[in-house]
């Protein structure tokens, strides 16, 4: 895409790290990692297992890591672990279809009003849970964990232009889900 997204700088380091140094560099990402894993895997135990597995893999793979963005590198490993777990557990599960009629029924100003009334922690939680993985993860990475587009692109392995368009679509869908929340009687 030709329009200019600027390329920020990221922290770098070089050389090998000892185990205590590795911990010093990577353990600060523990909360971000856990948050992403928990949103992707939807339960505590799987998320904890995935994060631990990611740390072990990162530690073993570290000699092959040649500088660059450590957080993005680590989150990439974590995401791979999460998707491996998901593949194992999810073959039987089908995603809930997106109901275009419900989501586009109301006129624009009604929608705006509904959004303002309904946007709270609970509806956000529900709405985000309903998004497909690729939308959920991009919102978690950018809006919750504060990764820049360039870092998100590195983690997801997609071009920056795709990060921009996917994030925009994900947010649009999230907004529609918030508006649709509780339209039907609240689910158990």
């Amino acid at each position: 895409m030709k329009s200019g997204i600027h390329y920020g700088t990221t922290s770098r380091w070089e050389g090998n790290l000892s185990q205590p140094e590795f911990e010093q560099v990577f353990l600060p990402h523990l909360d971000a990692a856990y948050n992403l894993a928990r949103w992707l895997l939807r339960n505590d135990q799987d998320a904890e297992d995935a994060v631990q597995e990611a740390y072990l893999r990162a530690y073993k793979a570290f000699s092959r890591f040649r500088g660059g963005d450590g957080k993005a590198w680590f989150m990439t490993i974590l995401r791979n672990v999460c998707y491996t777990t998901l593949k194992k557990s999810r073959s039987h599960e089908t995603p809930e279809p997106f109901d275009e009629e419900i989501h586009q029924a109301a006129g624009q100003s009604d929608v705006r009003e509904a959004f303002r009334q309904k946007a709270n922690a609970e509806s956000l939680h529900q709405a985000l849970e309903k998004l497909p993985d690729e939308f959920r993860e991009i919102i978690v990475l950018h809006d919750l964990e504060g990764l820049a587009y360039k870092e998100v692109a590195a983690v997801l392995g997609i071009p920056i232009g795709t990060v921009m368009s996917r994030l925009a679509r994900a947010r649009g869908r999230l907004r529609a889900e918030i508006v649709a929340t509780n339209v039907r009687p609240s689910s158990p």
């Binding site: 329009s3 200019g4 997204i5 600027h6 185990q19 590795f22 911990e23 353990l27 523990l30 909360d31 990692a33 856990y34 948050n35 928990r38 949103w39 505590d44 135990q45 998320a47 904890e48 297992d49 994060v51 631990q52 740390y55 072990l56 530690y59 073993k60 705006r112 959004f115 303002r116 946007a119 709270n120 922690a121 956000l124 939680h125 985000l128 919102i139 950018h142 809006d143 919750l144 820049a148 587009y149 921009m164 368009s165 994030l167 925009a168 947010r171 999230l174 907004r175």
Partner: protein, 254 residues
């Protein structure tokens, strides 16, 4: 820059991801386009709500301990004799000090870890590290139990928890508290649980949960036998396991 271009760039603009020239172009268009102004306001509102209202999951304090223990284990040189690397871990990792007594009756001397707890953790770690988890690999309690006959001067109760998701996978002869003991190995997903069983001979174990360097250890005495379970499993599942073992090994009243 036309209307569609700008619509496409609104999110990146609000995220501060556009370069200066593009920002200026977007702003020039938006200034004269009511539809874009409205979209911009809505999107701004949405982004603020997402960032301020979405719950962020926090890692439990145990997770960090668990990961550090796993890393330490992974970094231990494989060639060194196991007891050396374990001794090094005791000292370096400060295992002996990093104790949390969560469920407490009291033990003599605050924060003191009974030696047997350290030994049990060392046995568990060693069994995993040198890949010598089992002497007899079997998911059948009627194979595992007789295997101990002739190797021990007592017969441990062997129960299988496969129906509850903690299958028995084998047994091993180990040394604990200066004597040969039975070690039963159970599995929970990728995690292993070592359950040591030996006659108490008057040395009963306090019913305590220790968190040692990321491992959970729970000991108890029942029907004249000492039991000690060790695992890196999360606390909730670990307690569930212990509770089931306690229920199924409870001595039947005479």
């Amino acid at each position: 820059m036309n209307h569609d271009d700008v619509t496409r760039l609104l999110d990146a603009y609000l995220d501060g991801e556009l370069d200066l020239n593009t920002c200026v172009e977007v702003e020039e268009h938006v200034a004269g386009c009511e539809s874009c102004q409205q979209k911009m306001t809505e999107r701004q509102e949405l982004i603020e709500v997402i960032r301020s209202e979405t719950p962020r999951f926090e890692a439990s304090p145990f997770l960090k301990t668990r990961i550090r223990a796993a890393l330490r284990e992974a970094s231990a040189p494989a060639a060194a004799p196991f007891w050396k690397s374990i001794a090094a871990r005791w000292i370096y990792g400060g295992v002996a000090v990093a104790v949390a007594v969560i469920l407490a009756f009291t033990i003599s001397g605050p924060g003191r870890i009974p030696e047997v707890v350290q030994e049990a953790v060392a046995n568990h770690v060693r069994a995993l590290q040198v890949n010598h988890l089992m002497d007899v690999a079997s998911t059948d309690q009627h194979t595992v139990k007789p295997w101990f006959a002739g190797k021990l001067d007592y017969s441990p109760q062997v129960v299988d928890l496969a129906p509850s998701g903690y299958p028995l996978i084998g047994g091993r002869l180990d040394v604990l508290d200066n004597r040969n003991v039975a070690a039963l190995i159970y599995q929970r997903r990728k995690h292993y649980i070592n359950l040591f069983i030996w006659p108490s001979d008057g040395k009963t174990l306090p019913r305590l949960l220790f968190v040692e360097n990321g491992y959970h250890v729970l000991g108890w005495t029942d029907g004249g036998m000492n039991y000690m379970a060790v695992s890196e499993l999360g606390e909730k599942e670990f307690r569930d396991f212990v509770q089931m073992i306690q229920q199924q090994t409870a001595p039947t009243p005479p």
